[in-house]
């Protein structure tokens, strides 16, 4: 008995303790290994993420240039928590950049040049946008997990880096690739159109740094020289660099445009800007802007009179507001907010103005004045207008006016406006008696030309029209505002002393709290290409 039991114990001990290995349990069974990465899937990731990156960057620009209301503070200093900027930082650095680099390395190695080229274009665009927003950022020391504290690189050099990446991309698109990409979400595999995008980004870069770049004129001239033009300029919009949300699918994945999910699920979310809406409402030459009913959808066409919903109702505009400035709400139910009005939010989500059909895939405003629903309009099928053909013409107009390039600035402006109006009014099929007539469109376009001719400062008209045409893209207006000071009639903050304007965004919390080498800069800190004086804009 004793022996049997002793034997049994020995046996059990051996089985239990010696056969159990500790190895092989370190690999996470829920994920595949990095070595198994699929280059097409990686490219999909950076493309999908590009939409998120653009949304984050564009939102801040739209708010600061009063295209959309900024209501999270009464002055600039407290209008943003620095955590607001974390998603942009994370999107660029941790979500996209490692994948960009992996695609580029793998693409160059295996002759997948289209993959590499696309990754380079997107990377360069994101890199300059990061610089435009934050100034000096980590780059050469970035992406090294053994260095927790990468130091920043000077912003000017990063602009050169981006230009180099774009040139490489253009070269890649000229090579014979060993395979096509599985999903080209921008140009369906057209390398020719990718080259237009790369060159247009170069145009944007040179124009952006024209105040500090003595070669800007020559570089831009080279890009626009007749016979050599390879920019995004097709009138039919086929070259437009846009990120598309196919809409409809509400979950797994939700592919609706963020403007739509903001405004069509439970009433309107974000507040529109009274200033921007009034600019379009007033239009030019007695013609309301033909795009206004595409940009905005009014849930009510009536003026708001309930002080519980709109606390400024009946109050006079602040003394520092110039005559004619938007205040409290615009006529006929264009119900938004004033700049830096941080009052509590009343239950007005069912009456305030929502995003419209363009670019978020909402509803055309046919003056119905009813609340938005999830089944409205284009059901979230929309775009991010990253670079449109109209933008190219606006940029060429500015270059002609400021650098003396060979373009006819007025022709560039009117082409830009016409192409913008076409883009917006042809965005989706609309059946409504409120669709702007040809006469209204022509009238508006003629007024732009007239205003240009009579304006003492031509650039003002160009930049204002660019601002209007850019709806959905806050990046270009924010850059343009800092570069040119236009539009110079933006609605002032409600507080007469809102503090310094954000000449660059504060460094995000992720950076300043986690990186020892990070030093926060002031709200008024200027990006290298901004040589305008302090207090230039507010």
């Amino acid at each position: 008995m004793k022996k049997t039991i002793a034997k049994y114990i020995v046996w059990v001990t051996l089985v239990v303790f010696s056969s159990c290995k500790l190895d092989g349990l370190q690999d996470n069974p829920n994920y595949i290994a990095q070595s198994q990465a699929n280059i097409d899937f990686l490219l999909n990731n950076v493309q999908v993420e590009f939409g998120n990156f653009f949304n984050n960057a564009s939102s801040r620009g739209m708010e600061l240039t009063r295209m959309r209301a900024l209501i999270s503070g009464a002055n600039y200093n407290n209008a943003y928590q620095i955590t607001t900027f974390d998603p942009m930082w994370e999107s660029f650095y941790s979500t996209s950049l490692p994948d960009f680099n992996k695609i580029i390395a793998q693409g160059e190695e295996s002759g997948l040049y289209i993959h590499a080229g696309i990754a380079k274009v997107l990377k360069a665009y994101e890199l300059v946008t990061m610089v435009d927003n934050f100034g000096d950022i980590p780059y050469s020391q970035a992406l090294d997990p053994t260095n927790f504290n990468p130091q920043v690189d000077p912003a000017a050099g990063l602009y050169d880096t981006a230009l180099g990446i774009l040139d490489e991309a253009i070269a890649d698109f000229g090579k014979t690739s060993s395979a096509t990409v599985a999903n080209d979400m921008f140009y369906a595999g057209s390398t020719k159109k990718w080259i237009t995008a790369a060159k247009t980004i170069k145009l944007k870069i040179y124009l952006q740094r024209r105040l500090v770049d003595t070669n800007a004129k020559a570089e831009i001239q080279a890009l626009i020289t007749s016979g050599n033009i390879d920019l995004i300029d097709a009138a039919d919009g086929s070259e437009d660099f846009v990120f598309t949300y196919p809409g409809n699918s509400i979950a797994n994945p939700d592919t609706r445009h963020p403007f739509f999910t903001d405004s069509y699920i439970n009433g309107a979310g974000a507040y529109m800007s009274n200033s921007y809406m009034l600019a379009l409402y007033n239009g030019r030459g007695g013609f309301s802007d033909p795009r206004i009913r595409y940009y905005f959808y009014r849930q009510s066409t009536q003026e708001g009179t309930d002080v519980n919903l709109i606390s400024c109702y009946g109050l006079p505009a602040p003394a520092h507001y110039p005559a004619g400035s938007a205040w409290c709400q615009d006529p006929n139910g264009y119900w938004g907010r004033d700049h830096l009005n941080n009052d509590g939010t009343g239950p007005d989500n069912r009456v305030r103005t929502a995003y419209g059909l363009y670019p978020g895939g909402g509803k055309f405003d046919g003056s119905e004045g009813v609340q938005t629903t999830v089944n409205d309009g284009n059901k979230g099928k929309g775009i991010w207008p990253v670079l449109l053909s109209s933008f190219t013409y606006f940029m060429r107009a500015e270059a002609a006016l400021t650098l003396g390039t060979s373009d006819d600035a007025k022709l560039m402006l009117t082409t830009a406006v016409a192409q913008s109006i076409t883009k917006v009014t042809k965005f989706a099929d609309v059946t409504s008696t409120r669709v702007p007539t040809t006469a209204a469109i022509n009238g508006y376009e003629a007024a732009v030309a007239t205003d240009y001719d009579t304006a003492p400062e031509k650039l003002q008209v160009v930049m204002k029209e660019y601002w209007v045409a850019a709806w959905g893209n806050g990046i270009e207006p924010y850059n343009g505002y800092r570069r040119t000071g236009y539009p110079n009639d933006l609605q002032p903050a409600r507080n007469p002393q809102p503090g310094d304007f954000y000449r660059s965004l504060s460094y995000p919390s992720d950076f300043v709290t986690r990186n020892q080498n990070a030093t926060q800069h002031a709200v008024g800190a200027q990006v290298f290409w901004d040589t305008n004086p302090a207090g230039f804009i507010k």
Binding site: A6, I9, V12, V16, F17, L22, D23, L25, Q26, D27, N30, Y31, I32, A33, Q34, A37, F41, L42, N44, N45, V48, A74, N77, I82, T83, W89, Y93, S94, P98, D99, K102, I137, P138, A142, P145, F148, N149, P150, N183, T244, N248, S249, I250, A251, N252, P253, T255, N266, G267, S300, N308, G346, P347, R350, V351, V370, N495, D510, T513, R514
Partner: protein
């Protein structure tokens, strides 16, 4: 007491060489109740001849022809010497030895030891303190019963989780929850929180809820590392050793049936006192808002009916009877009170136990049905357990125990609220109810549309979910089926050497559901999630124990052992959105499905496997019953680390010295007992699985192209796998003293400890510019120091009347000494958000709450902005230390014949709490604290930016809404000092004489009240806030309240019958 002594009997078998002279036999019984006492040593004085009484208490011994004295001894009983004289039969009855205080306690790995031999502190709670108290959660029942342990409920809803922290916080990222060992084998005590506190994590149960308190024989708590070292890494947070009635070993020949039936009522423990004078609105204008800064009821006659002013014409059409209808503007003071209910709970438990010959057995059956105070909050439990213990031969013993538990919890979702709805994406029954506007008659207006059942409430935009709708149409459920048990074999290889093999299995299947019908504004299209978690622990232990007595003075007890533990968790689930038909809950009734949770983004399908092995040894050398030296050591290997770092050894040693025994002069009637002890222990902490290798994220359905084709993405993970990760290291010294005075009427047990944890495995946030956002690294050092004091006393004994008291006192400091070079602070995972949360910062108490604050000028004056409100900082800084200065409890017990009255009072001193509940009651102008003349204006104390004294007048709404309510977080922090009447019970045991002729052996009735009264003295008076809650759920967060719930109070009665 006697039961303990019996069941914990050590069989000291002495050598049995004897001279054949004559035989004496007899029976050993208990003087207390006459039952047989097995295991008592019977030795012929002056010789080594002796025997041990058998299970019936009988003994037989050869003794010399004449004379002789028999010595009867047993741990905890008074040793008796009886002259044999000429007797052939000698019966003795033995009494408890109060002097010897030979309390036997269970220590690590089930090794039973005389308490005097221990060099460290162990707390013990008897089953009677836990049974029939109307509370199913063993964690909550232990609250205040011992020092050194802080227990916090996550909320008051039935079945919600409980946070147990023994001896402070020692790790930033790792779990601090103690190890549960049930009948010698590990028991999973996780709180499976689906998602974080923002999306319903606080409505999850802690899995020790599956234990049936009525089936618990006793609980021993090992607090320090020198006590828990044999449990290895898993024991580093302290060990809660639960001995169920199934796990009890040998007792006398008996048969008994216990039947208990209890009925309890549960109510919300406290509600704010609401002000009766002002209705909803702002700046004294009426408006259908949350805020009650509207006009006084005396200033306005009537307003539009709450459902009479919808801006949505479809809702106006649904309620034509209310459209534009005017109703009197008045207070409905009972809206919130009537929303909650009195829940009844019923518990039935049957226990059958007995022993016959070499076999003893126990069977228990328990059923509980509990309704919480929240509508539709229910808890149902079925527990079934059986255990047998058999001496198959004289040398071979087998015990086995098997338990089945079924726990079903249902509750409306509970998640963080921010004072203006929910903070995250889920639902919460609490988030908008506590500040229901005084003029809204919540319980008497419809809460759903008669057309499509969607939620309706009083705001014109209908953008706030009606709490009654939330309670009815949203739900979280938790359905657990669990089997756990063990089988152990003991074999006495020789009289001194015993081999034990024990195999344990704990496996459960937990099904969680989260139901949100469509039509509520928070998740308007509806949502449904199901998740299945299967968790299994296989555990093997092999031990060899050796006892030896060297001569009369020196004794040795030693154990060596090995453990192998394998944990597997498999989870799968589905999340669906976009409900088609209202009210029908089935994934098929939703149009979109995913295994990625739409609410939290978590993948519902995952598995983890990890294995853990250890070898250990312990030896205690005893000298003359007054000096004991114990050395222990363990080596562990874990599969969660890379090979080079898998192994870690940790030693431990302790000394116990009893001067009152060593120097007999010291002992007197006044001064009965003194023990001094010192212990040193070490332990380790292993990371959670899969922290050492990076991986690739794959999202199968990431996006769609314009043709609707699925786009799949790969992305390099944001978490960096650190192959160099090492185990955390813990070192602790403790010193203690136990003393007894006045014939043991007064006792002290005091312990001080100092624990240093280093190489902490910390989830370190990385600047995304590194390409990753987080990784696990070994950083920093935390020091924990504490004092635990327990005073027991019997102030009064007059005849049958007896008054006993116990005082527990616990003070600790938990300080972060350092983090990694350059890491100035790190958010503690599970402790809020980066803008308001618990942080680890060098030089600061662990868990320091950081949040934004009021800007100050150079002289420290509060800065007021141009609008008259305080200027909120853009950055965060420490705004409160959530660690209490001390926690204490007084348990007082009066008994007279069969009547016992006892009460437990708790006192918590300090510990800051960020309270959204309090802030929103002020911000919304609903509590009586803000019932004052609101036409007055106020000037906030402080200075303006130009340095001059603030003179900007604010309205009352602005003061409380913009500043104290929703202003800088600093203004919402309160001191958590709380006095509490934790428990009162009155019980009556019918006298034996009265029931002698009935079939009953005993009848008892008791009445118990739990959490009957409390007061957080430094909170505004009328909020009646309970500090015993934790919105961040079970984990390392503390002192954060995000409106997840008032506590409950319970009262009821139990009838106990013994056959």
């Amino acid at each position: 007491m006697k039961k303990f002594l019996l069941l914990c009997s050590f069989v000291f078998v002495l050598s049995m060489a004897w001279a054949q002279e004559r035989v004496i036999s007899g029976k050993v019984t208990s003087a207390e109740d006459g039952t047989a006492l097995p295991g008592v040593n019977v030795v012929l004085k002056g010789t080594t001849d002796g025997t041990v009484a058998d299970v019936q208490g009988n003994f037989k011994l050869n003794v010399p022809q004449s004379g002789g004295v028999l010595v009867f001894s047993f741990i905890g009983l008074q040793t008796q010497e009886v002259s044999i004289d000429s007797r052939a039969v000698l019966d003795v009855s033995m009494v408890l030895d109060v002097k010897q205080l030979g309390e036997v306690v269970v220590t690590a790995q089930g090794i039973q030891q005389d308490k005097r031999a221990l060099g460290y502190s162990v707390s013990q709670v008897s089953g009677s303190a836990l049974q029939q108290k109307g509370e199913q959660d063993i964690g909550r029942l232990l609250s205040g019963k011992m020092s050194g342990v802080n227990i916090t409920s996550t909320g008051g809803a039935a079945g919600t989780g409980t946070n147990i922290i023994i001896r402070g916080y020692t790790t930033i990222t790792g779990s601090k929850q103690p190890l549960f060992i049930v009948d010698g084998v590990p028991f999973n005590a996780d709180t499976n929180q689906p998602g974080d506190y923002l999306s319903g994590g606080t409505a999850s149960s802690s899995r020790f809820l599956d234990l049936d308190p009525n089936n618990i024989d006793k609980v021993d708590v090992l607090k320090g590392l020198s006590a828990s070292v044999l449990y290895g890494e898993k024991g580093r947070n302290g060990v809660i050793l639960v001995t169920t009635k199934n796990g009890r070993s040998n007792r006398g020949d008996r048969f008994e049936i216990n039947l208990n039936q209890s009925v309890f009522a549960t109510q919300i423990a406290s509600l704010p006192t609401y002000q009766p004078n002002y209705g909803s609105g702002f700046q004294q204008n009426y408006g259908p808002f949350f805020s009650n800064w509207g006009p006084a009821f005396t200033d306005l006659d009537s307003t539009v009916h709450p459902l009479g002013h919808f801006s949505d014409p479809a809702l106006t059409a649904a309620f034509p009877e209310y459209a534009g209808k005017m109703v009197k503007y008045q207070a409905y003071p009972n809206s919130v009170k009537d929303f909650f209910r009195t829940g009844m709970s019923y518990n039935t438990s049957v226990n059958i136990n007995g022993a016959k010959d070499n076999l003893n057995y126990n069977v228990t059956l328990g059923r509980t049905k509990e309704d919480g105070f929240i509508p539709n909050n229910t808890l149902e439990k079925i527990n079934f357990g059986a255990g047998i213990n058999a001496n198959l031969t004289k040398k071979f013993n087998v015990s086995t125990s098997i338990n089945y538990a079924q726990t079903k919890l249902a509750t409306p979702p509970i998640s963080a609220g921010n004072g203006s709805g929910i903070a995250g994406g889920g639902e919460s029954v609490y988030s908008d109810v506590l500040y229901t506007p005084v003029n809204v008659d919540l319980m008497h207006i419809p809460f759903e549309s008669p057309i499509d059942h969607r939620s309706v409430y009083y705001r014109t935009g209908n953008d706030i979910q009606n709490p009654r709708w939330t309670a009815k149409y949203t739900k979280q459920t938790d359905d657990v089926r669990r089997v756990y048990g063990n089988t152990g074999f003991n074999y006495n290889i020789t009289k001194e050497l015993v081999a034990t093999y024990r195999i344990g299995l704990d496996t459960y299947n937990e099904t969680q559901e989260y139901i949100i019908n469509k039509g509520g504004p928070q998740n308007i299209n509806g949502y449904y999630r199901t998740a299945n978690i299967q968790n299994t622990i296989w555990n093997h232990d092999f031990l060899l124990s050796y006892n030896h007595q060297f001569g009369t003075d020196l004794s040795l007890t030693a154990t060596v052992g090995a453990q192998n533990r394998y944990d597997v968790r498999m989870a799968d689930g589905m999340s669906s959105t976009n409900q088609i038909v209202f009210g029908f809950i089935n994934h098929n009734n939703f149009t979109a499905h995913s295994n990625v949770d739409a609410l939290t983004g978590n993948n519902l399908n995952y598995q983890t496997k990890n294995r853990y092995q250890g070898v250990y040894g312990t030896a205690t050398l005893g000298y003359k019953d007054y000096l004991y030296l114990n050395v222990q050591g363990r080596n562990d290997w874990s599969s969660t680390l890379e090979k080079a770092n898998q192994s870690i050894a940790y030693p431990s040693a302790s000394v116990s010295f009893v001067p009152t025994t060593a120097f007999s002069d010291l002992e007197s009637d006044m001064f009965n007992y003194l023990k001094l002890r010192a212990g040193y222990g070490t332990s380790a902490g292993f990371p959670t699985p899969y922290s050492t290798r990076s991986y690739l994220n794959t999202t199968a359905r990431s996006f769609l192209d314009t043709n609707g084709n699925v786009i799949t993405t790969n992305s390099i993970s944001d978490t960096y796998g650190n192959a160099k990760l090492k185990p955390e290291v813990f070192k602790e010294v403790e010193f203690g003293m136990d003393a007894k005075f006045f014939q043991n009427r007064l006792g002290f047990e005091a312990t001080v400890y100092d624990r240093v944890s280093s190489d902490l495995i910390t989830k370190a946030p990385m600047d995304p510019a590194t390409g990753y956002t987080e990784t696990f690294i070994n950083v920093g050092k935390i020091t924990n120091k504490g004092i635990e004091l327990t005073v027991t006393g019997t102030p009064l004994v007059i005849g049958d009347f007896r008054w006993d008291m116990t005082l527990n006192f616990y003070h600790y400091t938990s300080t972060v000494n350092s983090l990694a070079a350059g890491l100035a602070q790190t958010l503690i995972p599970g402790g809020g958000s980066s803008s308001l949360g618990n942080y680890a910062m060098p030089g600061m108490p662990f868990g320091t709450i950081q949040g934004n604050y009021v800007e100050r000028d150079a002289n420290g004056n509060l800065l007021v902005g141009a609008d008259g409100n305080y200027i909120a900082s853009k950055t965060i800084k420490p705004i409160g230390n959530p660690n209490p200065q001390f926690t204490s409890s007084i348990i007082t017990n009066f008994s007279y014949k069969g009547i016992t009255l006892s009460a437990q009072f708790d006192y918590r001193k300090g510990g800051k709490i960020y309270s959204t509940t309090q802030a929103s009651l002020l911000a919304r102008g609903v509590s009586k604290d803000v019932d004052f003349d609101r036409s007055a204006t106020f000037i906030l104390p402080g200075v303006k930016e130009d340095g001059s004294k603030n003179d900007i007048q604010l309205t009352s709404s602005d003061v409380f809404f913009n500043n104290y309510g929703f202003g800088p977080s600093e203004l919402q922090v309160y001191d958590g000092t709380t006095i509490r009447l934790n428990q009162v019970s009155l019980s009556y045991q019918l006298p034996k004489a009265l029931i002698a002729k009935t079939p009953f052996k005993g009848i008892s009735i008791s009445a118990v009240g739990q959490n009957l009264w409390f007061r957080a003295v430094n909170f505004p008076k009328y909020s009646h806030f309970d500090t015993n809650q934790l919105s961040t759920g079970v984990g390392n967060g503390q002192g954060l309240d995000f409106l997840t719930g008032p506590s409950s109070k319970k009262f009821g009665a139990t009838l106990g019958l013994r056959f």
